[in-house]
Symmetry: C2
Subunit: 278 residues, 2 copies
């Protein structure tokens, strides 16, 4: 712990005592998670005696460990990360609509009646983060690269945010098709379809693949003819600037990296966990 | 959170991140526990990225909640408080000798092979605290008032610390007798017996009853003829000064309140939790 970290401590987390409320982030592995550092200062700012703790849950003990956590009377919420976002669903009493459509949840909370509700905030975080930058997806025509975990959440959140078109591209075309159908069924007002990488007819490009994280990675898809008025978002956080974002910026596009999604999500999660549920 | 508390924060607990190791104190209720505030600064001082968190376990979910905690891969130890110190025993793989004799455990830790060992530190904490004040119970003749939870732990720890006599007094004489027999069987070198409140033949008086906590409480037992060279200990923490301690001090006795036990125990617990087990 360096001197700076120590000086910053007061604002960073509540002092733990017998009355402290608990929130857990579960995953395996767990060392890489950032939710404690991200959310604990927000709990302090909200005046709460509450801390987010990392909980390493092993696959062979998943159900009983999570049921044990859910039974702790002073534990009020759980963030779910890799590899448990789908596996958590059967343990949640009320899977909220967005989580049901995505087929995965990344947060659950105890309701006043003791039951648990779960929802998916990965995509909603992006919508919130863009909104904080005064950008809405309403009426936008989105080309989404990637139909995996992040892509699924983004597709559904974009449709939920009233994008007019969401075109989903994945090397596994059956996966893109299945996601498109699921999303379209839940949001009939939005045109959701699997499609080839064609930028024409779109004003928004979102990369939800990991391509761009590794040194030497290229673009997640050919982006010939990217127009300067296209909004370009990459869900990647490290590096700050992926080849896609660098390319788009050079063309004059407005660009956002994954931090917009992360910050937006932190805001949404704190609201979900601390909302007045009574 | 006042300004002073904020200023003190850095030394008080580790900053929680994905690599933080967890220790839990379980009980019902939980709000009154002091172990987080007592142990977290000691973890910091030991250079550990670890926090003690309060965990409110409800009686109807005790076994599955505790098994859930034990399954968390980054949770290394559990303190057990009221009302679970006896109920925990069947969940512990290796009940160490002092806990077995007392019939209760207040701490358990994960061993390198994944099994859990549990021990009782309530009485051992008193021995440690007195030792830190350069006092040993070795060869002492102890009159112990109270054969309940605290009394049981103190009786066994006194015998373990080589007291020559432990006389146990309780309004429930059968309870005193049972504790005496159990302790004597485990420590044949010590004379352990149930007995009346008679100070003669003793050089140490320990109150392990709650009498003295409530305003208006009198003495836990008649102490006529208390000699000035008697060591007098009261396990009570609030108030600082019980009627027994005030009376004894007025007679010139050396006295200790419950803080000696608490401080000694914190030291022992951190050692138990952080000892090199490899």
């Amino acid at each position: 712990m360096n001197k700076d970290a120590m000086t910053e401590t007061p604002a960073q987390q509540a002092l733990i005592d017998g009355s402290t409320r608990l929130f857990a982030i579960i995953g395996d592995p767990i060392g890489q998670v950032k939710s404690p550092q991200t959310l604990n200062p927000r709990f302090v700012a909200a005046g709460l005696n509450a801390v987010m703790i990392p909980v390493n849950v092993k696959p062979d003990r998943f159900e009983d460990t999570v049921r044990g956590l859910m039974a702790i009377a002073n534990l009020d919420g759980i963030i779910i990360t890799v590899p448990y976002k789908s596996r958590i669903l059967p343990l949640i009493d009320h899977v909220l609509p967005m989580a049901a459509t995505v087929g995965a949840a990344n947060a659950m909370r105890r309701e006043p009646d003791g039951t648990w509700s779960g929802d998916m905030f990965d995509g909603r975080g992006l919508i919130r983060g863009l909104r904080d930058a005064a950008i809405t997806l309403k009426g936008r025509k989105v080309l989404l690269i990637g139909a995996g975990g992040a892509g699924s959440a983004v597709a559904v959140a974009a449709a939920d945010a009233a994008a007019s078109i969401v075109t989903i591209v994945d090397v596994d075309s059956a996966k893109a098709e299945a996601l498109a159908q699921r999303t379209a069924a839940a949001y009939p007002a939005c045109t959701v379809r699997a499609g080839p990488v064609r930028l024409s007819g779109h004003d928004t490009l979102i990369n939800a693949t990991p391509i761009g994280m590794a040194p030497g990675d290229g673009l997640p898809a050919p982006v010939d003819g990217l127009a300067a008025d296209t909004l370009v978002v990459d869900v990647i956080i490290k590096p700050n600037d992926t080849p896609l974002l660098a390319h788009a910026r050079a063309l004059g596009c407005r660009v956002f990296n994954g931090r917009v999604m992360l910050d937006g999500q932190a805001h949404e999660l704190v609201q979900f966990f601390t909302a007045d549920k009574s």
